[in-house]
Every structure is written in C-alpha cells, then in structure tokens.
Amino acid sequence: MAASVTNIPIGTPSRSEARRLTGSQIIWDTLVNEGVEVVFGYPGGAIMPAYDALPDYPMLRHILVRHEQGAAHMADGFARASGRVGVCVATSGPGATNLVTGIANAMMDSIPMVCVTGQVASSLIGSDAFQEVDITGITLPITKHNFVVSRTEDIMPTIRQAMYIASSGRPGPVLVDITKDAQNGSTDYRFDATPIRLPGYRPDHHSLPQQIERALELIRAAKRPIIFCGHGVIKSNASALLLELVQKTNIPVALTLLGLGGFPASHPRSLGMMGMHGEAWVNTAIQEADLILALGMRFDDRVTGNLKTYAPHAKKIHFELDPAEINKNVKVDLALLGDLRETLRQLVPHVEKPSIDTWVNRIEGLKGDSAVRDIKELPDAGRLFAAHVIHDLWRFTQGNALVVTDVGQHQMWEAQYYKHDHPRKLLTSGGLGTMGFALPAAMGARLAQPQDDIWVVAGDGGFQMTACELATCAQENIKVNVAIINNGYLGMVRQWQQFFYGGRYVATPIKSPDFVKLAEAHGLKGIRVTERRNVQAAVEEARANAETTVIDFRVEQEDSVYPMVPAGADLDAMIRRPLPEGLSHNPIFETGED
C-alpha cells in the first residue's frame, strides 16, 4: 500500500492518503497539520532523527535558541500573544531538564504549550543511559498532562492529543517524550483529522440557569459592587463582553496583573491593578465592596493579602473554568463554572443596572484628581526614575506596544504606569515569577505578531538570566526592543531587604556587563540613557532600527515600588512612598490622597 503513494512529496501534509513515513517525519507532519507554523528548539542526540527530517517541512519555521529555557519561554510568549499553542523541542536529559522552568511557568499561568522531547531508545530506558532522564516523572506536577511515546504509530495520535489537551479547557503545558527508536521507525501514516476523544478528559463545565439567575439577583441588589478582571478574560477572549457588562452596569473594574489589558485602562471605570502593588484606591475599594464579580482569576496570595480580613463585606461570585479553583483560597458565595465568554453571554443580556452612584463617587473620591497619576509633568530633579521611563515609553509608543516584562520592580512599575487598553498586549510571568522570561517570551510574541511594536521591559538582573537569546535574535532576525531598567540591584529583593530585613543588602548589588557593548557584540544596536530628556530619542531610535535594540536605562538605584502591601498583611495596610530627601514634594505619587 505504501509503495503506491511514495510519489507524494514528503512535506506535503496529506489528510487523505496513507504514506510510509518515519516517526521523525510524523512528528513534523502532525504539527503542520495541527496548524503549527513555528517551533522553538535545540537539537541533541536523542532528538537528532527528528531534526534530520525537519528540512522536509520547509513550511515549519524552526528557531534555534541558545538555551532550552528560552525555547520554552518563546513558545509561552507565542501562545500568550496569539492564543494558539506554542511548541518547543528539546533533546533528552539536560535538554529536557532545561525546559523545566519554562514549563512550570506556563503551568502556573495556564498557557497552552506542547513540548516535544527526545528520549533515549526504549531498549535503554531505565539503564541510566547517556542523557537519559525521566522527564515525564520530573514534569508530572508541572504539566497539565504528559506522555511517553515508544511506538512510531503512537506519535501522531499522541501529538494530536497533546495539542488538544494543551488548548482546551483550562489551558496548560503538555509534554510528549518520544524515544529515539520511535523516531527512527516507520509506519503507514495518514493524518487523522477526526475530533479527539479522551474518555477521562471532559473540561467542559457549564453553569446552571438558576445560578445565572442568582448572579443577576446579587448584581441587582448590590450597593458597592466591583468586578475583577483576571487572566481568564483575556484567554477566553471575553474583553468585549466585559466591556458591555460594565457599560450596562457602571460597575468599577479592578484587574489582576495577568488581567491587565483585559479591560481598557483608559475606561473611566477601570481602577487598575489590585493586590500587593495595587493602587491604594483599588485595595480600599475591595475591602469596602459588598459584591465581587471575580472573572477568570484565582485569588492568588499576591492579590488577597491576609485571607482572614480579605473583602470582609463582599459576597463573592466566582466565574471560573476550573472547578478545583472554587473555594481554594477564598470562600465564595456562588460559582459560575464554565468558559467565561459563554457565561457572560448568558448573563450580560439580562443584567440590570444597580443603584451604585454613591459607590462610584466614593471610589472617584479615593482616586482623587486623576492628574496626579499622570507623572509625566512631575519634577524629577534631574534624576531618572524607572516610573518615568515606563510612563514615557507608554507615551512614545502611543500605548500600543506589546510589552513583555520580566519579574521584579520594573514589572510592577510597568503594571502601574503603562496603561494597556487591549488584551494580549502585556505578557508577564505572574504565577511563577520567572526572572529571565521577558526576552525569550517577547521573541516568541514576535513570531505570533509580526506587526506589533514589541518591547521587553526587564531589570538588569533578570535580563542577564536569558541574555544569551540576543544571539538568537541576531541569527534569526527577530526584532524586539529591549528596555533594561538598570538600577544595579536585584531591585525587588533589595526593596524587601530595605523594608523587612533591616536594610541589609545581602547579595543584591549586581554588576552587569556593558549592555550597549553586549548588544553590539551580537551585531545588534545598543543605546544608553542616563537622563530623562534622552528617553524619547532612544525609544524612537529603537523603534526605527531594523534589528533588536537594547536600551540601558540607568535609573535611580534605590527606588522602591509603592504602595506595597507586605506579604500576608491586610489588603488596605499599605506601605506608602516616603518624601524623598532634598525634594520638596514627591516626584511620583501613588494616590490622590498623598
């Protein structure tokens, strides 16, 4: 049978006719048939057969990374920016273990990702063979699911299942570990396009009509309601419905870090980010609210502070896809299970406007004159504040950039001062808080969004964790702009040391290479900015450059992120910005009440 069809060129994905293919070819053919256009990876012994077949699939772009963690973050960034499954490839052993941080990161933020790893030949499994590692065992708690494939004929169905599991229900990373002999083997192959059916996997949950009815009643009766916009709003593409809900009800919206962009920051009812570094008025409003509509968020400890005193007056409605999240951290009064967009479609047409003018005015009062929030005109006394850099970046990119942040102080400043009006325009490592995420994730986002103005915002510490990917930018012609918020410290840890460890700066001062020269060494552009008046030119030059451009912003060294709710403290017990010495008033305000 196979002999009669060999004249079909390899690399022409076919759904109809069986062909004799190797396992290696099947890996790529299946991915191509699943709609995958780019994979991020690094070759090695146990995945070499697959790489050998890669040129047969020229429609599949392969990005050669410098470290497999970068491949995982790129696949993650691709998935966040596109809403599609990101795919990364690594060899067995150290290649696979290098993926681990990236996989855990994707798991914590529920990112659809498929990782294909090579494995030693099945006859060698368990023998401690060269570069053998039990990667399915290692990744068991940090994947949504994982598979070992040791038979060629299982490759296609398994990769299809992996793509399906990764992208359906609450998304997550899925790892497929394929032995070298399965790659080398051949089988009659025909891509199977029938819907996947897994007997034990039913991620579709739905709310009952009486639960929707109950939610409508609670909204109608509310005096001080607040909506939480979480990551789920973005992932279920529910932003438009959320906007409609707010336009109908006028209920203010607080956002989680990962929810930023899910509701327009420029909307008058947008309160900004909640939680540990949330604005004072947001956290105060949460503590005073009598109804919380929690949309696609999981009451992370960085959001709630002390659970015992959290939102004590509020009835809570949890809109959530994953039943295991209900009552995990915060006991809720009503849970609406299911895809958020579907639930909102049922709810929004029937929602009635509650009488909440007093409440809305109260919150506006807390916000005070919103102009104080606009720090652009506030004096900097000749100093370069990170908040000013981020704010200027927002202005000079017209608020339209796709920003990818790393983890730390700059991440919080970005959340506070770059106002995102659209979903999928802020990508950040939320749950795991992975330093080194930004550069590779932005590169993945570039492959998903070729037209976007993509900015990495990273600290000098985190940037160095994956700075090797600059070489990938150069080799693969991936253009991103990099803003390093360089304060010479591991800033967030330094801030904690200042606040909670008696100001002992242990292992936080960090010496960096000359980032301008580092960029130049990669054949890229580098710019240094030490004064605020040069921010605009640098931003514009970076945008105009065809190649990746790294801007080294030398900012105030010992600045801190305010306000701050210490870990585990009551949500409205915040550390506020002290008046800096030598300044008659604060260059940066966090609330109208200062």
């Binding site: 068991l140 599991i165 009952l208 109950r214 659970l307 039943p323 209900i326 009503l334």
Partner: protein
C-alpha cells in the same frame, strides 16, 4: 480558607484508566496539594482497561470537593465520587503473624473466632491470621493479639462500595462529580 472546617476521614472511589503511571500521577497530586492519604487501594474491575481506586483522606467539606475536582481534572481519571456520607460497605484485609507456639494456639484461635478471623498458616512457633472487616475490627483483633506478640502485620487499605444500585462513580464515567455541578453555596 476563610474558616477552618473540621476534618473527617473520607472515602473516595475513583475509576481510572489502567495505564502505566496513573497511580503515580494520582499520588503525585496528593503530595503536591498536601493531602495526606490514610489508605489507597487500586485494582482491576470487571471492565478491561479500567481500574478502580478506593482512598481515604482526612479532609473538610471544601477540601473534599477540591479533591474530587482535582482528580476529575486528570486526563486518566474517568470518574470520582466521595462516598463518605453514603451507605456503603468498606473492607480492609489484614494478615497478622502472631508469635504463638502449640501451648497457646487454641486460645488464639478461639479469640480469632470471635472476630471471624481465620488461621491461614500454622508454623511451629507462629500463626498467620487473616481478617477482613472495618479498620475498627482489625484494630480490635490486633489489640487482643498484641500480648501474644505480633511478629508481622500487613494490611490492604480499604476497598469500598456503596450499597443499593450501581454507584454514581460506576454509572457516571466521564461525568463531573455531582458536587461540581451544584456549586451555588449561597
């Protein structure tokens, strides 16, 4: 949690696909979520390819529901049911090796009779007793036998089944547990 509820010993039944690594996945979940397993039993069913598990965990109401939800979420888990509050039959099996020679053998066998335990092996200085029943019954027998000297003891962990018609876990393979369908607490 907002308020600490009282934890009780709960019994869950789960149907899972009979594949390599499934038990590892489930025990890994319990470890990761910090659920302390009291006992766990897995074995085949009348359906080829499907295994049935019984496990006991001390948990409060919310935790029990999350255990169900986390298990149901797993790709290889077909159904799960908390049968703690349902009329059910639960059995452990234990083998107890008692240090007993010919002179006291009759006395031990007589005690076993009371517990409906039976001797399954007799050696010159030992006796293996098999007992099936609830944990209480097994604890009772082992306490009675302790003075003779227990050389070894092994126990299966509970297997459980609801009384009456076919249980929910068996009839609702691929269906969410009932507790997940009705989450309106207020």
């Amino acid at each position: 949690m907002a308020e600490a509820q009282s934890q009780i010993l709960r019994t869950f039944v789960a149907y899972v696909e009979d594949r390599p690594g499934v038990l590892n996945r489930i025990s890994s979940l319990f470890r990761r979520r910090n659920y302390n397993i009291v006992s766990l039993n897995v074995g085949s069913t009348n359906e080829p390819g499907i295994s049935r598990m019984t496990f006991r965990i001390a948990a409060d109401d919310d935790m029990a529901r999350r255990i169900e939800a986390n298990l149901y979420k797993m790709v290889n888990v077909l159904s799960v049911e908390d049968i703690t509050q349902k009329p059910s039959v639960s059995r452990d099996l234990a083998l107890i090796k008692v240090n007993v020679g010919p002179e006291k053998r009759a006395e031990v066998l007589q005690l076993c009779e009371v517990f409906r335990a039976r001797a399954v092996d007799v050696g010159p200085e030992t006796l293996i007793v098999e007992i099936t029943g609830t944990q209480d019954k097994i604890d009772g027998l082992s306490a009675i036998l302790a003075p003779f000297g227990i050389a070894e003891m092994v126990q299966t962990g509970a297997v459980a089944m609801t009384r009456g018609p076919q249980g929910t876990a068996a009839t609702s393979l691929q269906q969410p547990p009932p507790s997940l369908r009705d989450l309106s607490v207020a």
